[in-house]
Symmetry: none
Subunit: 201 residues, 4 copies
DNA sequence: AATGAATGAGCGTTCATTCAT
DNA sequence: GATGAATGAACGCTCATTCAT
């Protein structure tokens, strides 16, 4: 898909490309996709406009690249976090914690994902990625349901509820209020498992 | 906040203004704020461009107006829904249900709010409106905590968790999958109160 | 084919549109289509760039408009020239003369048609228009053949030969060398009817 | 004219240069001069951009080179075709036939010549080449006129008429409709000598 | 000889906004 | 109140050309 994939790129080229990705990510997160022009990105790097189009087919293509990279990275972290854990409920907890950790370490990426989810150009792509993450959680829930540990008939609904809570708490308290990510993760896990009434002692 | 507020507007003028708001809302929700031009809006109404600037200072001002209207309407519905209810937990439940009902009846408005929350131009305004809604829920929670019915030390965190769940379940299942709003509201309330483990019988 | 067709245009607008067409025709003929930018056209008229796109969907659309106008005008002149003439050979002669006259009076248009015939973007359109003109001539030839006045089995080939001669003589002698169009038309007619050997006395 | 002419070129260099010429000719004919970028040419050959500018001063210079080569080749073929023929009218006929044969065997070159004749950048050069070809034909015609075999006072006009017919018939029937070049040449010769009325038996 | 990287002016096009009528 | 016309800065993108390696 695109000449860019077949172009031979030198070490110097790889570096430039990474610079572009980094700078674009920063600017997109800071000002938004639509308010960041290609001129802004290359200007901020002090290079000519042509450089951008040497490495990417379009502004949109670069954004999609950033998005994909972020979603893949998150997924890898989640997989790593639950590796070896046999308890499905612990797997859910570890997955939620890994997500908040990732977002905390990659605040710009997570912000771009949020934006993309609400822009007609990118919404579908984000939704698809989200479905995958939700399916993972739902699988753990299903296992817990079958083990009789959770009484619910709709693991997908539950999974979505968790993902929604996760996103909102992260945005509000970590990103917005600067609270410690680990503490927020504690509250997130507690809410997702026991709701407002909290764990019965 | 400008010349438009001081302009005397006739009955016919009010109608025109409403037409503009309605059409803009429809188009913004359908194609997105950035992809909808002022020309689209007036063109779709078959009127000249001057009309738009007669009633609104700018495209941004119109969007803010739509946003404010929506948030006020939602708040009014929530207040009406809990009026007379003395049980704080029931008040929370009724508030959540009222929110989903509003979003179901005003899908375009709720979509615009989502967009606005992720656009640098409008995010602050949305956040402020959200804080108000959260404060309401948090007040009910505080009451329940003081009554010893809920054991938690951070009602604001809980309230945000609920609002996040609400938004995501609505988007995914009502808006996205076309499920019945009342059923989704049932699941939402259950999750918010009891979490994944569900109500203990 | 687009929004432009449905736009209400005032008398002033019609004038502007005509100015654009005239100026663009002049510049296209002088510098060529690719070497004439939209900025050149509006700059030459002393108006803003937006004016261009108020009246035309694109630079290409404007060029096509000019082309179509020219071809229609030529056809109308040819039809008028042969109206009432019953002798098919005289009809051919009158058509050829009308064409040279048109080109002489509209040198810019005829140059644009030549350019367009050799540009991949417009070649098909020109070819189609040419086929119509050729069909007219071929019909007259067919009539002459059936009357036993011309001995040839391929009127379409003959018609194309004439059209090719016409274009080249016009370009070389009228457009290029500034010779009198009527005299060139005499030679054209003579060559088309009798070839190099000339009319036998 | 230009540094390139003084550069010593190895055998391998000659090959590269020819590859560039061949590929550029193909692409120019297929997509047009303006729509074919230097990047297209070198990309299609799988070499770097520097190669292009090692062998040619500019895109324009390459095109001019192709043009010149083509015109020279055609002239050589025409000269060879009439060598030894003493009858001036036969020389004309043989020249016309040689031209169609050349165009048939070098369709890309002949298409480029057509394009160049209508582009402000190259028109003059083509015109000059054409004048030479026309002068050849005109010389034969002059000879025939002096021998009393053709009654006409303007051999240059006649020669241009022939060249115009030639080009148009080739384009329409050989290039466009795929007809056999030899048959078209028959019709061309017949038309040029006897016109529409045809040879008197 | 040859490469991939870089330049930057210029392109066609859009669009929020203003304004004379 | 309302219109169609006009503005012009800004946008995403292209591409002939140059250059360090």
């Amino acid at each position: 898909m695109g000449a860019r994939l077949t172009r031979r790129i030198t070490a110097r080229g790889v570096e430039r490309r990474n610079q572009l990705v980094t700078e674009a990510t920063r600017l997109f997160a800071q000002r938004g996709y639509h308010s960041t022009s290609v001129a802004d990105i290359v200007g901020s790097l002090g290079v000519g406009k042509g450089v951008f189009y040497w490495y990417f087919d379009s502004k949109e293509a670069l954004f999609v690249h950033i998005l994909r990279t972020g979603q893949q990275e998150l997924r890898r972290l989640q997989d790593a976090a639950i590796a070896g854990e046999t308890d499905p409920i612990r797997r859910i907890e570890l997955g939620l914690r890994a997500s908040i950790t990732w977002a905390d370490e990659r605040p710009e990426l997570s912000q771009l994902v949020q934006f993309a989810a609400n822009d007609s150009l990118f919404a579908d792509r984000v939704r698809r990625g989200e479905e995958i993450a939700v399916a993972d959680v739902a699988a753990h829930l299903q296992e817990a349901i079958e083990a009789g540990r959770i009484h619910h008939d709709d693991p997908v609904m539950l999974a979505h509820a968790m993902v929604g809570t996760l996103g909102h708490l992260y945005r509000t308290f970590v990103q917005g209020a600067g609270r410690d990510a680990t503490e927020v993760a504690d509250d997130l896990v507690s809410f997702c498992l026991y709701g407002a009434f909290g764990k019965q002692p």
